[in-house]
């Protein structure tokens, strides 16, 4: 019952006119951003974050807006996947497999509607699990001391390294780069300046926003420019087909399974929508053995599974972010950074001390998903028409927004130069097949990790064995070793074929 009254508090926050407007605006913008080819949720949230910060929104409203963009973009990603065969981001790749064949058959409308319903069911299911799990997890996390946090982060980075990106070693390097960036600036323990190169702008650390926008948005513009070819993409017509009751009955268990899979993969630190949708798709294909010929040729089960899963994982990824302060994906890492900018430290106490933020966000997500279903069923035509916006009109706006956003934080041109340099760096990383999310996770978690490590060793007087002093820490250590070893074992057992293919798909 406690949960219900907490949820009621949340709805009272979400129903204020400003927040209601921001939910709707965020969901609409998110769907739009997600549906534009090439610009995924991460870029959308990154570009809007400095603006939300500079116009002085209260923290819970800013978070509600950014979260709306995040899961709105997970909905929107399917539009370009289905109609153009161009996924908006990695999480939408699996949607192209069965979505595009359907739209080529003239069933674009049916595909869009099924995916909207699956997305909705996935989100709502995951939100319910979130309402149940988040308070439990935060009760567990209240007993976490510095040593537990250190081991938890080790576990998060291990999960990240073995499950995200093309090669574990590259993910590890990306995380280390992020951690190194986090050490720049004045050391809070002793006041010593570290790695500032005598540049005053670095004295209080490398600005999180500048890194996020540089590494993601600026490098994205460069990638779009590189891939640009002088012909317009062909949008397959939506047609008059629509989802039938029989369709939904046929995929109801598929959606349920995919929701559970997606949610728990989302909760795992570091693993986001791309892995969730891939695993859900793979599971359904195996479940349908003997009847799986249609997969890849336009089977509605192959469309519903990844869509339910990637939306469920978006909600799941919020759980560790809110309860432990450890983001479950690249985009939630940015949301975490946003909270830190507002001087709010997510963690077990967030639910008790700032219920308006934690529960307000959760309540707003319920509203947002209903709004998204409405946006995505009757109003789908609007977004489809927006698909044909030409890049020559879109890119100048994106470049402008990145500059306006970064300049508005400090009013200093230095940040703009630094942002462009980081953009070049991000572009190089992408061309070498490094994923960028680990860099951001390292940057966001670096300070917390170091602080907790130093506190732990202060407690033990320099004895490192304190890191394995209790049941929780030992459990996390074992989990880390398993996360490191299991993927390799599984690969051995199952043979290389499928995993390698999956990796190659996620890689791009």
């Amino acid at each position: 019952m406690e949960v219900l009254s907490a949820l009621a508090t949340g709805f009272s926050v979400a129903f204020t006119p400003l927040n209601l407007f921001l939910v709707l605006f965020g969901c609409f913008t998110g769907t739009l951003i997600g549906s534009l080819p090439g610009i995924g949720p991460i870029n959308g949230v990154a570009i809007l974050l400095p603006l939300a910060y500079s116009i002085g929104l209260p923290p819970e409203s800013a978070l509600i807006l950014l979260a709306g963009v995040y899961y709105g973009a997970e909905y929107g990603g399917r539009i370009s996947s289905i109609l153009l065969n161009v996924p908006g981001d990695a999480g939408a790749i699996m949607t192209t497999l069965d979505g595009y064949p359907m739209s080529k058959r003239g069933e674009g409308g049916r595909a869009l509607a099924i995916s909207a319903v699956s997305s909705f069911a996935g989100s709502m299911g995951a939100l319910l699990m979130m309402v149940i799990m988040a308070p439990l997890l935060s009760e567990l996390a209240i007993r976490f001391g510095p040593t537990e946090y250190v081991m938890l982060m080790v576990f998060a980075f291990t999960c990240l390294a073995t499950m995200v990106g093309s090669r574990p070693i590259k993910t590890l390097i990306g995380t280390l780069i992020g951690l190194v960036l986090a050490t720049v600036g004045v050391d809070s323990g002793t006041g010593v300046l570290r790695f500032t190169m005598d540049i005053p702008n670095f004295f209080d650390g490398v600005d999180f926003l500048v890194v996020v926008i540089g590494v993601f948005a600026i490098s994205e513009v460069l990638v779009l420019l590189e891939q640009w070819v002088n012909n317009d993409l062909k949008v397959t017509p939506v047609g008059k087909s629509f989802v039938t009751f029989a369709d939904i009955v046929k995929v109801r268990w598929v959606i349920l399974r995919a929701t559970v899979i997606g949610f728990f993969i989302g909760v795992l630190p570091g693993t986001g929508a791309s892995i969730a949708s891939a695993v859900a798709y793979g599971t359904e294909k195996r479940m349908a053995e003997g009847d799986s010929d249609e997969f890849g040729k336009g089977d509605i089960r192959g469309l519903a599974a990844p869509e339910a899963a990637n939306n469920a994982s978006a909600a799941g990824a919020m759980v560790p972010m809110l309860t432990l302060g450890i983001p479950g994906s690249g985009t939630t890492a940015i949301l975490l950074g946003a909270l830190l900018m507002f001087n709010i430290t997510p963690g077990p106490l967030l639910f008790e001390q700032k219920p308006e933020i934690a529960w307000g966000l959760i309540a707003s997500m319920f509203l947002g998903n209903i709004a998204l279903l409405v946006l995505n069923l009757p109003l789908i035509g609007v977004f489809v028409r927006l698909l044909s916006i030409r890049q020559s009109y879109l890119i100048p706006v994106i470049v402008m927004l990145t500059f306006v956003g970064i300049y508005s934080i400090h009013g200093d041109s230095f940040d703009l130069f630094f942002m462009v340099i980081l953009g070049i760096f991000g572009f190089i990383l992408r061309k070498l097949h490094f994923s960028l999310a680990p860099v951001i996770l390292g940057l966001v978690l670096g300070e917390v990790l170091e602080e907790n490590l130093r506190r732990s060793l202060s407690m033990s007087g320099g004895d490192w064995s304190i890191l394995l002093n209790g049941n929780i820490t030992i459990g996390l250590a074992i989990a880390s070793v398993l996360a490191l070893v299991l993927p390799f074992l599984l690969k051995r057992i199952k043979g290389k074929g499928r995993t390698a293919q999956l990796q190659a798909e996620l890689d791009d």
């Binding site: 500079s54 323990g189 790695f195 640009w228």
Partner: protein, 144 residues
Amino acid sequence: MYDRIFAGALLLLSGLIAWAAAQFDVPFQYEPLGPKAFPYILSALLAVAAVWLMIRPSADGWKPTKEVVLRLGGALVLMYGYAFIYEPLGFIIATAVVGGVFSWLFGEKPIKAGVYALVMSVVSFFLLTDLLQLNVPVGTVFGG
């Protein structure tokens, strides 16, 4: 090959981190680790990872054509220039010029691109300053 070059740079970086950390002048410190230990750990891990990558690099996947390199170079010069003129010339002029060239880089005809960028920059200036009340530079050359 790219991976090897990058790994070499990382190795250099890890050395620099360790060297710079060793130079920190720590006047007092109450805890056993202090500000140097974490950078040392990162530097060591980075060095190991870099050597690993050097031994087992991935195949080079990126083979841009001359035109792509030119366009990318152009975009970089453009963004750097944008950062350079953003404050002195102000938002409207800088955005109109840079936005126009970007629109042209993405295939728009020059005149249409220019008109579009001019309209975009003027409209967004008033949206950003009046509606969102953001800190948008008017241009120091105009005394703003």
